[in-house]
């Protein structure tokens, strides 16, 4: 949960005078988002989310995130739309921090995703990938292969405190993934890169919106699919649910066909995706600041997921027949 910076009522009311979204009725710090401070605003014009971007988010990246949401929303994706102020700016400053207002999306995120949810996210992800085409800005993925060793070096000396042998386990995997197996010539574009269940809203069985583009970047589209496989298709005991995987992959494939090369690469992409979250969680876990109000996520969840992915040899292990996915 996250409210790192509080905002005074009169300061916020003054800030809102620069927008055309009515008078402030209430605002509540909400327990969503780990990187930023988020408030749910009620105004006479409706509900909005105010985000104050804290230190961990590079200020230079904000125009990419805000521009992407505007682009996706205008291309039919249900995602928050940045509200521009009277000067036409989506990005402003409040309480000494970069600040943006986006419209509020109704919907609830599934705490225990079922196969229907997995189909929903597969479809939504493919549509997002298609809608991302033509977005003019780009942003490199700092958390792809070349970014992993620096993360590992931050955590290596203390990794075995978390689990004996963890350091060697990660190092072996890192050597493997850096050794030329990572695919290069697959379709690429804008990916979400963090499409966990808490970033996908549903109303009933239908996806009502995708949120939180703080990790969005340009990378292999199939890498985004791999991140979702890890985030959506494991049970809480880290056993893999092929019914959910099949639902996710089949729904994705109906919107955007995964090429043969992408399908072949998916297991190694899923290993990389598992390692990426293992590493960032490990670094966070070992560096909880004194007085932190955020509980770090369990890195070992992703060590277990990585072990599963190391044993996958083809799409068959994800519940997809040898003939592959056909749109």
């Amino acid at each position: 949960m996250a409210v790192y910076t509080d905002v005074a009522a009169d300061e916020l009311a003054e800030f809102l005078k620069h927008y055309d979204i009515g008078e402030l009725l209430s605002y509540k710090g909400i327990a969503e988002g780990v990187e930023n401070s988020n408030f749910l605003l009620h105004t006479t014009a409706g509900s909005f989310i105010l985000t104050l971007y804290e230190k961990r988010v590079a200020k230079n990246d904000l125009p990419f995130f805000l521009g992407l949401m505007t682009h996706l929303a205008s291309n039919g994706i249900s995602c928050p739309q940045p509200v521009k102020n009277k000067s036409g700016e989506a990005l402003s400053t409040l309480a000494g921090r970069p600040a943006a207002i986006i419209n509020f999306l109704e919907g609830v995120w599934p705490r225990k995703p079922n196969a229907t949810h997995c189909a929903g996210v597969g479809e939504a992800l493919a549509k997002m990938h298609l809608a991302g085409k033509g977005f003019a800005m780009s942003r490199a993925n700092a958390l792809s292969v070349s970014g992993w060793r620096p993360l590992f070096e931050q955590a290596a000396s203390r990794a075995d405190e978390v689990q004996p042998g963890l350091r060697g386990f990660i190092e072996t995997e890192l050597d493997y993934l850096e050794g030329g197996v990572w695919p290069k010539n697959l379709p690429h574009g804008v990916i979400h890169a963090d499409l966990f269940p808490d970033n996908v809203f549903f109303l009933g069985d239908q996806v009502s919106g995708i949120i939180d583009f703080t990790f969005a970047c340009n990378d292999l589209l199939a890498y985004d699919v791999a991140i979702c496989l890890n985030a959506w298709c494991f049970e809480s005991d880290c056993s893999f649910n092929v019914t959910k995987a099949r639902a996710l992959l089949a729904a994705y494939g109906r919107e955007r066909e995964l090429s043969e090369a992408e399908q072949k690469a998916l297991p190694v992409l899923a290993r990389g995706a598992a390692l990426r979250f293992l590493l960032t969680r490990l670094v966070d876990f070992l560096n909880v600041p004194a007085g932190a109000l955020v509980r770090p996520k369990d890195p070992l969840e992703y060590a277990r997921k990585l072990r599963f992915q190391q044993g996958v040899s083809s799409m068959r292990d994800y519940g997809i027949a040898a003939s592959g996915l056909v749109a």
Copy 2:
């Protein structure tokens, strides 16, 4: 901030079927309330607050709190109104905890209260005291004089870790307040007992509502006034602002005249009120559980306020002329 217990979307949707408040659209854990988990719900019928009562709140007290809100609301006080389920119950169970839904009050609480806010809270408090008459249930104040020494005993051995000399300072004050100075025959009734700025909402300069009755009980009405003097009329450097005090007391007096005896007792009540929050904050400060997501409040703020109140001899020191308050 507080969300101790998360709720699954399907569990919540199921729970809401027992109420007549429409379909669930969204729910967000909110960073308000220290004792309980609170969620802001949007349904097709409007906005509501869902509270899950955590361990620190005695289950037996919940009917008092919920009944009081219903009573006050039906007597013209703007406070949250418990929503009864289809069985006519305001109190139910969700995620293994006692749970209640109340309607959502728009408004913002003042981070830096000014004299207008102080007048607002004074008026609202007096109206609440008048509206509380005729409420049939009662609840003893566990945090009045007889409750302070047990709190002190929990913290005494470690008090000087927080500030050298703090243990002796508290003990002397406790001896004084237990020594027969505490008034007995003043008007009593239902008091809020925790009417800090974050529990009073404003729209513009007007109070739009009073929330959080988790400490409400039966006690001296003037003790509630004393709590508010401490909570609203000090600057952030703990200097006392007589303009704010005068505004608060005068506005209170216009609705409900403070008797001569109450006015005379106010300084000692304010000392007791300061000691009460000093003690509970000290106990909390010394007992932050591992992994707590709540930052404890500063006990020394209330030591400084207590020192001020020890030097007060009459209402003159609160900015009220010798003739006293006349309604």
